[in-house]
């Protein structure tokens, strides 16, 4: 019995210790952001690496989800004679929820793992130690530009995701099913609020950008400098990022859309 209590206590302490360590890392990262802003060319280069390379998967996924969403919503709305609301339902689903959340999950899988592996391999190859011994702080030279690039890239990718998703929905709804195009677009213009719906979606994706990039960088920076360590760290990046995004999405949705 005592052994069980001891084990629970030890695990709890270890979890809190890890959480504290991650919190210190995050604060340290924030402290180096102003330095990265002063060397914005490094941020742009990382935005290219992180954002541009995620374009294909984001676009393909956005179109596919938009098409499926339009089809599913059409089947669900027709029995109630509400098929004219299709454009609105698809739009709100994408800009409020699916755009930010699915983009973040894809980002964690594509760019997050790439970041973790890159930083982990830099550590394993002593590149970070070399930088340290050259009196160059890797946190300001390597981590902070990537952190900022991730935060800036995520909303852009989420907007793109929602935009191509809506186009995919239009393709299915208007071109294949025959929903009235004027109805499809006009209800969006009438009922979608730029600040409440689109704006909150962008804020969400920026928050997810902070979470996904910080988790990826932390896992890479703290990884064991071995091939197994890097492989394990990339897996943890996807798991921790995804769970954190889903939990934070619930909190943000409850806060942003609590009033009808």
């Amino acid at each position: 019995m005592i052994a069980v209590v001891e084990s629970i206590g030890r695990r709890t302490l270890a979890a809190f210790s890890a959480l504290g360590h991650a919190a210190f890392f995050f604060m340290d990262l924030l402290r180096h952001v102003p330095g990265a802003l002063r060397r914005f060319s490094l941020v742009i280069a990382q935005m290219h690496a992180i954002g541009y390379n995620s374009l294909v998967i984001i676009t393909a996924s956005g179109v596919a989800v938009g098409c499926v969403l339009a089809l599913q919503m059409y089947y669900a709305l027709v029995p109630y004679g509400a098929s004219e609301s299709l454009g609105l339902v698809v739009n709100l689903s994408l800009v409020r929820e699916l755009g930010p959340v699915v983009t973040a999950l894809l980002f964690a899988g594509r760019a997050g793992t790439a970041l973790t592996a890159e930083i982990g391999l830099m550590k394993a190859g002593e590149q970070l130690s070399a930088m340290e011994l050259m009196a160059v702080d890797p946190r300001s030279r390597v981590l902070a530009p990537r952190f900022l690039a991730g935060i800036l890239s995520m909303p852009i990718l989420a907007i793109l995701y929602s935009a191509v998703g809506i186009l995919g929905a239009w393709l299915v709804a208007v071109k294949l099913i025959g929903v009235d195009p004027g109805n499809f677009w006009s209800i969006m213009q009438a009922r979608v609020d730029v600040f409440r719906d689109v704006g909150n979606g962008i804020v969400k994706s920026a928050v997810f950008g902070v979470i996904c990039t910080a988790v990826a960088l932390y896992q890479g920076y703290e990884t064991q400098a071995t091939p197994e360590g890097v492989a394990y760290a990339t897996t943890r990046t996807v798991v921790f990022s995804s769970l954190s995004v889903l939990a934070m999405d619930f909190i943000l949705t409850a806060w942003m859309f609590s009033t009808p």
Partner: protein
């Protein structure tokens, strides 16, 4: 402290955790402008020693001084000022794989000096010329061999004309030609720049050819002997003799401690 001493390791004890001591009461002095070799088998704490000098770790006991100044990782500003006077060649180069050969050598210049790109170009080409790789300036790191990577890393280490250059296993994994080239470069660079050079290695022959002074370390992070290469070569100390001559058995046992073989195999005594 002797006025000729540039780096002083004074009764340093260090371990990565409380249960495992890597260096035990180590004292060494590195003379200004000389090439000093630190020899020893794998795992005896040679690389850790370089990292203590670079302020990556803090000794548990004792102190490290650099040109009379205490190396203290807690004082980041002073530590970085010391590191700007240091150049280090890592065992496998530690080149930045996302940059070209040219950009690797230019990296410390761009980070620390407010120089125009044309001036950086001139300096980088001169450093690459010194290691014989000016023609490889535009190659990617993935396109260079291990020996070339070591020389590029050397060009990067000397980009800021450091007062101290630390070499971590510069000969490991090199073919005989690359090994000779690297050894020759270390000596020539030291003589040309007047830098203080620390060479950590287990290659006795190469080190003895270029070093002015050598320390021998042994398992457990002890300093076994120190002296000029010829003095160590003539030493009667069994531990020194075993290492210098590469004898398989001696004070350093061939067999890892274990129960007698007969007992392990269950053979009746």
């Amino acid at each position: 402290m002797n006025s000729e001493t540039f780096i002083d390791i004074d009764h340093v004890t260090f371990g990565y955790d409380a249960s495992r001591t890597i260096l035990r009461d180590v004292s060494m002095r590195f003379a200004r402008g000389k090439v000093t070799a630190i020899l020893g088998g794998s795992g005896c704490g040679k690389t850790t020693l370089l990292r203590l000098i670079g302020g990556v770790y803090r000794p548990q006991q004792g102190k490290v001084t650099f040109d009379g100044e205490l190396v203290d990782p807690r004082n980041r500003e002073r530590l970085y000022a010391i590191r700007r006077r240091l150049g280090m060649l890592f065992q496998f180069g530690a080149l930045f794989t996302d940059l070209s050969v040219f950009d690797n050598v230019a990296f410390p210049l761009r980070e620390h000096m407010a120089l125009s790109e044309s001036m950086i170009r001139d300096i980088v080409l001169m450093k690459l010329q010194a290691v014989g790789l000016r023609g490889a300036a535009q190659l990617r790191i993935s396109e260079v061999s291990g020996g070339m990577a070591r020389r590029i890393a050397l060009a990067r280490a000397i980009a800021l004309d450091p007062e101290v250059i630390m070499y971590d296993e510069p000969f490991a994994g090199l073919d005989p030609i690359s090994m000779g080239v690297t050894a020759n470069l270390i000596r020539r660079l030291n003589d040309a720049t007047g830098a203080t050079s620390l060479v950590v290695s287990h290659d006795v022959k190469e080190c003895f050819e270029i070093a002015d002074y050598a320390y021998l370390m042994a398992a457990g992070g002890r300093v076994v002997a120190g002296g000029r290469p010829e003095e160590l070569a003539d030493s009667d100390d069994p531990e020194v003799r075993q290492f210098i001559r590469g004898e398989p058995d001696g004070p350093v046992r061939f067999h890892y401690p274990a129960m007698p073989i007969a007992q392990a195999l269950g053979v009746p005594q």
